[in-house]
């Protein structure tokens, strides 16, 4: 069992210290333990998982970021975790779109999208195939001058309805907009289109529990309530980390706190060259989120209205409208008893993209009022799909960008890490400070559950290569 820092009997030195237990940090810990290193994982919160988290209220378990991931997760969990975790991955078969431009239900894979685009949107099959081929061939190192907007205009000129179908889900998945590089869109969209949308049966709590067991089996020391105050750097080389005034030495630090946190708050700008800082200063963090969590009373049931609903009453799709303080667009993730077999409860989570400053600038009083307004808007929108559902609920609460900031410490509460430029900084930070690595959502593509886990593996490879040069 993970122990709190205050009660932990820690060694003075580890091979690798991981700061933060998001899916990237957890995966790095597991990979590096597999490589034979003595690993210490430090988490500021009392619970592991980072934004892959959950909370319990009145018999309900609310999942914060379990909304659906690509099929690639199956192979990734098998290779970098274990078969038991892999075997809990199941498909979400009913993805719903509902907005003034169109209504459709889909399995969200290439086959079904091709049919919908052809029959419902009257796009010639040759155009659809050409589009799919183009996005499937995209690599992160390709030219990034083309934006997603330009990509859509090339294949589907003037078709804002098609743009909406293709973009809206990805905006919720990773905060990207029509102005971001087309490659970030293409890579993520293709991942989903492979076989559709999948989830973890048993919920986030089960997944993180299974990962914790695997880490402990592999000898990783895990400490919670352990907020790292700083990364100690001596003459351009990592020496260790400082927690509550105590120095713990190590050969490498893998920071799974945000890249901006890592540079500005943990290592400090003096640890880096002017050239590197000039690039780091240009990192833009992605937007944050608002969520409304709704729990249905134990004895009540709700109809099956789909697993994941992309809803909007905005006439047309607009990336900035999605982040509006009073956006008309939101997703509903509906968790039926099948989500947690045996638990047999229904919960609904409404999610919206949102900007930190819009909420952070409010007075305490206005903040409370606006939070209630947020809940009211979600209930009105949900009523279109589940009339009267409000009367069946015994728990409703909301989270704002401030909530995300408080629990994850992410800069501006970002839910999706950074824009594209963050990837290069993250990948190269160890060339600035020997032994300092970063893992976590960066560059849009290394985001989401699958992106975070795979990036944890990629960074572990860098760490392993470095560690072998110093021992």
């Amino acid at each position: 069992m993970p122990v709190s820092f205050a009660k932990a009997a820690l060694a003075n030195r580890y091979d690798v210290i991981i700061i933060g237990s998001g899916l990237g940090g957890l995966t790095s810990a597991n990979r590096l333990a597999y490589c034979g290193y003595k690993v210490l994982l430090l988490e500021y919160h009392t619970q592991l998982g980072g934004l892959a988290t959950w909370f319990k209220r009145k018999g309900h378990i609310f999942d914060v970021s379990l909304h659906g991931f690509p099929y690639g997760m199956v192979k990734t969990c098998k290779k970098y975790w274990n078969k038991e975790i892999m075997n809990s991955i199941v498909q979400l078969k009913n993805i719903v779109f509902d907005n003034p431009q169109f209504h459709l239900e889909t399995t969200f894979d290439r086959l079904d999208f091709t049919e919908k685009l052809n029959k419902q949107f009257k796009i010639p099959e040759s155009t659809i195939n050409a589009f799919f081929s183009r996005v499937a061939g995209m690599n992160f190192y390709d030219d990034q001058s083309m934006t997603t907007r330009e990509l859509f205009e090339e294949f589907f000129p003037g078709r804002s309805d098609v743009h909406r179908l293709l973009m809206e889900p990805i905006s919720y998945a990773n905060g990207s907009t029509l102005n971001d590089p087309a490659i970030t869109y293409g890579i993520v969209f293709s991942n989903f289109m492979n076989k559709g949308v999948f989830t973890f049966e048993g919920g986030t709590d089960k997944l993180i529990g299974m990962m914790t067991d695997e880490l402990e089996k592999n000898g990783v020391t895990i400490c919670t309530s352990a907020k790292v105050d700083r990364i100690v750097v001596d003459n351009g080389v990592v020496r260790g980390v400082e927690v509550q005034g105590k120095l713990i030495e190590c050969g490498s630090v893998v920071s799974n706190s945000g890249i901006t946190n890592t540079i500005y708050n943990l290592a400090g700008i003096d640890s880096f060259s002017d050239d590197f800082m000039a690039k780091a200063d240009k990192i833009r963090v992605n937007n944050s989120s608002c969520q409304v969590y709704m729990g249905i009373k134990k004895e009540e049931k709700i109809d099956d209205i789909g697993d994941l609903l992309f809803t909007s009453t905005a006439e047309e799709f607009d990336s900035s409208e999605l982040c509006d303080f009073t956006t008309k667009s939101k997703t509903f993730s509906v968790y039926y008893p099948k989500t947690r077999p045996g638990h047999d409860r229904y919960t609904i989570v409404a999610s919206m993209n949102s900007n930190f400053e819009d909420w952070n600038s409010l007075s305490e009083e206005t903040y409370a009022i606006e939070k209630q307004n947020l809940i009211d808007r979600a209930l009105i929108d949900l009523d279109r799909y589940l009339p009267g559902a409000k009367d069946k609920m015994d728990w409703i609460e909301a989270a704002t960008p401030k909530t995300f900031n408080r629990y994850t410490l992410h800069t501006q509460g970002t839910s999706f890490g950074t824009k594209f430029e963050g990837l290069d900084i993250s990948r190269n930070i160890f060339k600035e400070v020997s032994g300092l690595f970063h893992v976590g959502s960066v560059g849009i593509i290394m985001s989401g559950w699958l992106g975070a886990i795979n990036y944890g593996v990629i960074v572990s490879n860098d760490v392993d290569a470095y560690m072998r040069t110093i021992t």
């Binding site: 490589c35 034979g36 690639g72 192979k75 990734t76 290779k79 795979n454 593996v457 990629i458 572990s460 490879n461 392993d464 290569a465 072998r468 040069t469």
Partner: protein, 83 residues
């Protein structure tokens, strides 16, 4: 290590990554990626495994050398000559 031993080593690592990999029809001069359903993460696994087993450091710019079974053997032969 002989060329045959290197070939066996690479196939053994791939089998660990994908137990369903079918080697019977594998053409050694064609890209592994197209024949075995391997993705870029799988190639990273091969790199990590070679480092773990034989202390080989393969820089990122050399990853394309691992594209086919033949190119793997050609690339690894001098590196593993004393192994």
């Amino acid at each position: 290590m002989t060329r045959d031993a290197i070939k066996d080593l690479v196939l053994e690592i791939i089998e660990d990554i994908d137990e369903d990999a079918d080697f019977d029809t594998l053409e050694s001069d064609k890209p592994l990626r197209d024949q075995l359903d391997l993705d870029s993460m799988d190639f990273l696994d091969i790199v990590m495994e070679l480092r773990k087993r034989h202390k080989l450091q393969i820089p990122e710019e050399d990853y394309p050398e691992l594209a086919t079974l033949d190119s793997c053997v050609n690339y690894l032969e001098p590196l593993l000559k004393d192994a």
